[in-house]
């Protein structure tokens, strides 16, 4: 029993990170019908921004809550600015063209960010400083949870509540919902769609950056290509939950994280080697696309023409 609980905690930890990133995929898709493949790399950019802030502001030497908050918020702000810049200079000029053009631009952007970071920082992994003291808490039996895991859960939940509040209780949130419903009508109603789209990118990028910093607290090794696999899995999570659907992205993220950890833990009893954890996410993607293309929480309506 405690082993299962332990595996579930392990899985939900990574799942929360996937969920944070998946939110960005899903929001951008909801508004632009664009799969922003560079989004996984923003998660990496966030981790590097946090690394630079923490080391240059001297938080690395002494763990403190203040240092963590400054690093987290600072890297979210930097990532938001970069996300907006990407939208402005890479996606807005091609927005009117075919879907294929924007998709290829997104893939190009992803490669550009990855190798720009390899160029700037070299491919050498850096070790992320421990910003908060880490300790273990025994729940029951053998099941333990570390404070860095609790931090991931707490910050993720907080950010998701904040996001929910922005979308449903603020004016800009209302505008986002309007734009995602029908961008042309929204424009006719006097909504500044360019601003709403830029804001969406900023929001999604900030969440991904938070995921990057939180992961780096849990697994203190960052490198320029760390966003590829994590980003792909978050994308699968968004599709699983129903792309365009915000609660779906969270559910999808948690499910993917739990599924891959349970495969590591119990896969061998049903003949799946533990190293197939990456394959699990993609198997889920294929099954979802075959069985329920709209995803778990996605509405099964025909796309508007």
């Amino acid at each position: 029993m405690d082993t299962f609980v332990q595996q579930l905690i392990n899985g939900l930890t990574i799942g929360s990170i996937y969920a944070l990133i998946a939110l960005g995929y899903t929001m951008v898709y909801g508004i632009l019908r664009l799969i922003n493949f560079a989004h996984g790399d923003i998660y990496m950019v966030g981790a590097y921004a946090g690394f630079i802030l923490a080391t240059s502001l001297g938080f690395a030497s002494e763990p403190s809550a203040f240092g963590f908050v400054v690093t987290l918020v600072g890297s979210m702000a930097i990532a938001a600015a970069i996300g907006m810049a990407i939208e402005r200079f890479a996606y807005r000029p091609v927005r009117k063209f075919s879907k294929m053009t924007t998709l290829i631009t997104a893939i190009g952007m992803s490669l550009l960010i990855e190798y720009l970071f390899v160029f700037i920082f070299s491919g050498t992994p850096r070790s992320f400083p421990q910003l908060l003291p880490n300790s273990n808490i025994t729940l029951f039996g053998n099941a333990t949870i570390s404070t860095s895991q609790i931090l991931i859960f707490a910050v993720s939940i907080l950010l998701m509540i904040l996001l929910q509040w922005i979308i449903f209780k603020t004016k800009i949130g209302k505008a986002m919902r309007a734009v995602s419903f029908n961008i042309n009508s929204a424009k006719l109603m006097g909504i500044n769609t360019d601003f709403v789209i830029a804001f969406t990118f900023a929001l999604g990028s900030a969440l991904a950056a938070a995921g990057g910093v939180l992961t780096a607290q849990y697994n203190p090794k960052i490198e320029p290509l760390m966003g590829i696999m994590t980003g792909l899995k978050a994308f699968v999570a968004a599709v699983l939950g129903g792309i365009g659907n915000i609660p779906g992205a969270v559910l999808g993220g948690l499910l993917i994280g739990a599924a891959e950890t349970l495969v590591v833990g119990y896969g061998s009893t049903i003949g799946i080697p533990s190293t197939y954890r990456d394959a699990v996410a993609f198997a889920i993607l294929i099954i979802v696309l075959l069985v329920r293309p709209a995803g778990l929480l996605g509405s099964n309506v025909q796309e508007k023409v």
Binding site: I52, R88, F121, N136, T138, V263, S274
Partner: protein
């Protein structure tokens, strides 16, 4: 317009500030003069295991500096051509092809990771350019051909050393293995640890695997924890191992963790921290060894690079010295003569012990077991374990000076 300009300035300043913290990039030497011997070096100067490549490069540079300062080899100076393979096998193959065909090097030194050496060795063999790997321990590397040799021991020995240490010194009855599924090095160590540990009466209770891109390792560790092994053998590289140790301790797993020379990097202290208490590795040499040749090397290395040399630096230093010695004995760099000279190296007194290249072009040397001490970020000498049926530890320059060493030798 102002907004556009503002955005550009913002983005530009962010990237500039990123660029400022970047460490100096590596460049390869490429001046050509008449009276030099060109030696190619390839390694992972950037990438997942770049600390290995950097140490190796440093060790070779120190050796070459000393050789050139002493008048070179046969009156000729050695000139290094250094290439980065980013730790990727396909890249290793490409850069070695480039070193041989474009730079016309007369010998090649590298790589650390067996997977990368295995990718590049056929190129050197094909071109008949002698290649000495300082630290690739997988047996298959020198099986590629007679132009490929090494100055380190091989995995069967390294794997069995840790099995012996686990069974005899730590009195472990059960063990689990957590290996890197994509690394030839890790697979080799896993196999030979398992064989020896089982032979010594131990029981292997779990054999788990991870990949280098795994986001965490707690899934595998939780599974192992349930089986309560006395020790866990983790034959991997420092980048993952540091985090595995951290996560194992977070799961309240306090048993000793064992590993190989792939753990030996200053980076591991940053990644693993205090979790590295109660961990042991097999290695090529101990920087703590008071033997004068080792201490001289440690001192020279520290003076030049301001860090303690790890075993990869020591092996690289030895590899360059062995090559220079072979060039001297061959009377030049004729590839057949040079190859024969390298392969007939006998009792060469290196920092990592007396080096004798055997008929399979491996160096037969004892291994040391070191304990990791996170408090001082140092590797503490535990014991020496000799290969069976070969030279006893007493005639290996490096490891003769401790009572513990004498006791543990059979």
């Amino acid at each position: 317009m102002t907004r556009v300009l503002l955005t550009i300035t913002l983005v530009f300043s962010i990237f500039c500030s990123f660029a400022c913290v970047q460490k100096g990039a590596n460049t390869s030497t490429s001046t050509t003069t008449g009276d030099t011997i060109k030696v190619g070096v390839y390694g992972d100067l950037t990438g997942q295991t770049s600390s290995f490549g950097q140490s190796t490069k440093n060790g070779i540079e120190l050796a070459v500096e000393e050789i050139n300062a002493g008048g070179g080899v046969n009156g000729k100076k050695i000139q290094l051509v250094i290439e980065d393979d980013q730790g990727r096998p396909e890249q290793a193959k490409t850069v070695v092809s480039k070193l041989i065909s474009q730079d016309k090097v007369q010998a090649v030194l590298g790589e650390v990771a067996s997977t990368n050496s295995l990718a590049a060795a056929p190129v050197a063999q094909e071109a008949k350019i002698p290649m000495i790997t300082p630290s690739s321990t997988n047996p298959k590397v020198t099986e590629v051909g007679d132009y490929i040799s090494r100055v380190c021991f091989i995995d069967p020995f390294q794997g069995s050393v840790m099995a012996k240490f686990a069974a005899n010194t730590l009195k472990a009855k059960t063990a689990a293995i957590l290996g890197d599924v994509n690394s030839d090095y890790s697979k080799g160590l896993t196999q030979f640890f398992e064989e020896e540990f089982t032979k010594l009466g131990g029981k292997l209770v779990a054999k788990e695997a991870y990949t280098q891109t795994d986001p965490d390792f707690k899934g595998q560790l939780t599974k192992i924890r349930n089986l309560k092994p006395d020790v866990i053998y983790i034959p991997g590289y420092y980048g993952q191992v540091g985090i595995i140790a951290k996560q194992a301790r977070e799961l309240d797993m306090t048993m000793p963790l064992l590993g190989g020379d792939g753990w030996d990097s200053p980076e591991i202290w940053k990644l693993g921290g205090d979790s590295l208490k109660n961990t042991f590795i097999s290695n090529h040499y101990s920087a703590e060894n008071p033997a004068p040749e080792i201490q001289n090397f440690v001192k020279a290395y520290k003076a030049k690079f301001n860090v303690e040399p790890d075993s990869l630096a020591a092996l690289a230093y030895d590899a360059a010295k062995v090559l220079a010695d072979a060039i001297k004995r061959a009377g030049g760099t004729d590839s057949v003569k040079l190859k024969d000279a390298i392969n007939s190296t006998k009792d060469f007194a290196g920092v990592t012990g007396k080096i004798t290249i055997d008929k399979t072009r491996n160096a037969v040397k004892p291994a040391v077991v070191l304990e990791l001490d996170p408090a001082s970020s140092k590797l503490k000498f535990k014991e020496t374990i000799s290969p069976e049926g070969s030279a006893p530890a007493a005639n290996t320059g490096s490891n003769t000076n401790t009572a513990a060493a004498a006791n543990s030798n059979k």
